[in-house]
Amino acid sequence: MKTTTGIAFALIAIVTTIGGLLLANSHPSMQNALHVPGNAEKTDPSIKSSALSVTLAATSDQAAIGEKLYQMKCGACHSLDKNRIGPRHRNIVGKQAGTVTGFKYSNALKRLKAQWTDENLDAWLENPGKFAPGTSMGFRVKKANERKAIIAYLKSVSK
């Protein structure tokens, strides 16, 4: 009996402490700071979706899926118009590998004699180190259908 009561008290004490911590942590300035209310003008879904439908009409579904995948999977290192961790990607399809101006390539890519065709891009994305041993891009896209969609997107942003 005694021990049970002891445990019960201890439990209450713990719960109270946790509750106190939560209260202390949810300081109003912190709450307000991190609550980002949707900016009505900027995030109005109707504006977004109409803009999106224009793009969708102009490109294939594949490319639209590919764009999402590109954002999620390539977006940490690449963008269309800026050299970042990897080179910029606008007009990459059909281009000679390793020739985007202003980007510092690995020797592997500088030496690679390849053009970025559908087939070469597919092999590259499946395993860059196999396609161009010694490359600094290690990121692989395992699923063939994802590679296909990403390549369709890259095509849609190439002339």
Binding site: S29, Q31, L34, R84, T135, M137, R140
Partner: protein, 192 residues
């Protein structure tokens, strides 16, 4: 988008985050990582150096992004605190990666100028706190995916640390997504 009923919980989660995170960051950094010289071929080693260097470049960019954001004047002080904590994790990643490259006999890549990152990340287009948080979310989510996607290209010695880094980036993405009122993804395997 934001349902008011879920807000208090969200606030509590986030409110607590700032404090516990720095502990995790410290453990990550002070725990240190040591890599035994891999019994790999020279080409496998130089492949690892190249890939790890790309990861260092990614961390440099992330550190710069948080720095630019913190000094932009667009963020409320409490958000700056959280950003600085996240930046600390990225510095820990950078340091662990630099150590790994050096142990493999490679030369770690240097960071670029702040102007380079301002241009590369199109910082001029950010107008308010929400814009900044959206960029941070995009980078963190991308980084979690990037680390997971490069694991199969790396030597075994680096699989675990790459996964640990992906975990940290996913943690950051979760906090940022929550702050932006994004719904919790319904399907599993949300990264990779």
């Amino acid at each position: 988008m934001t349902t008011e009923t879920t807000m208090p919980t969200r606030r509590n989660f986030i409110g607590g985050a700032g404090k516990t995170l720095s502990l995790a960051g410290l453990a990550m950094i002070s725990g240190g990582c040591s890599y035994a010289a891999a019994p790999n071929s020279a080409s496998a080693t130089s492949q690892d150096v190249e890939i790890l260097n790309a990861a260092i470049a990614l961390e440099h960019e992330g550190i710069a992004a948080y720095q630019i954001a913190a000094t932009s004047g667009l963020l409320q002080p409490a958000v700056v605190d959280i950003g600085v904590t996240f930046q600390g994790h990225h510095k820990g990643h950078r340091d662990a990666l630099i150590k790994a490259v050096e142990q493999l006999g490679g030369t770690p890549v240097e960071e670029q100028s702040q102007d380079h990152y301002i241009d590369a990340l199109d910082i001029a287009s950010l107008k308010n706190q929400e814009d900044v948080l959206r960029l941070a979310l995009k980078l963190e989510r991308g980084a979690a995916n990037a680390y997971l996607g490069l694991i199969p290209s790396l030597g075994n010695d680096f699989h675990q640390v790459a996964a640990q880094m992906a975990g940290d980036e996913a943690f950051h993405a979760a906090i940022l997504g929550n702050a932006l009122g994004e719904p919790i993804p319904k399907t599993p395997l949300m990264f990779g």
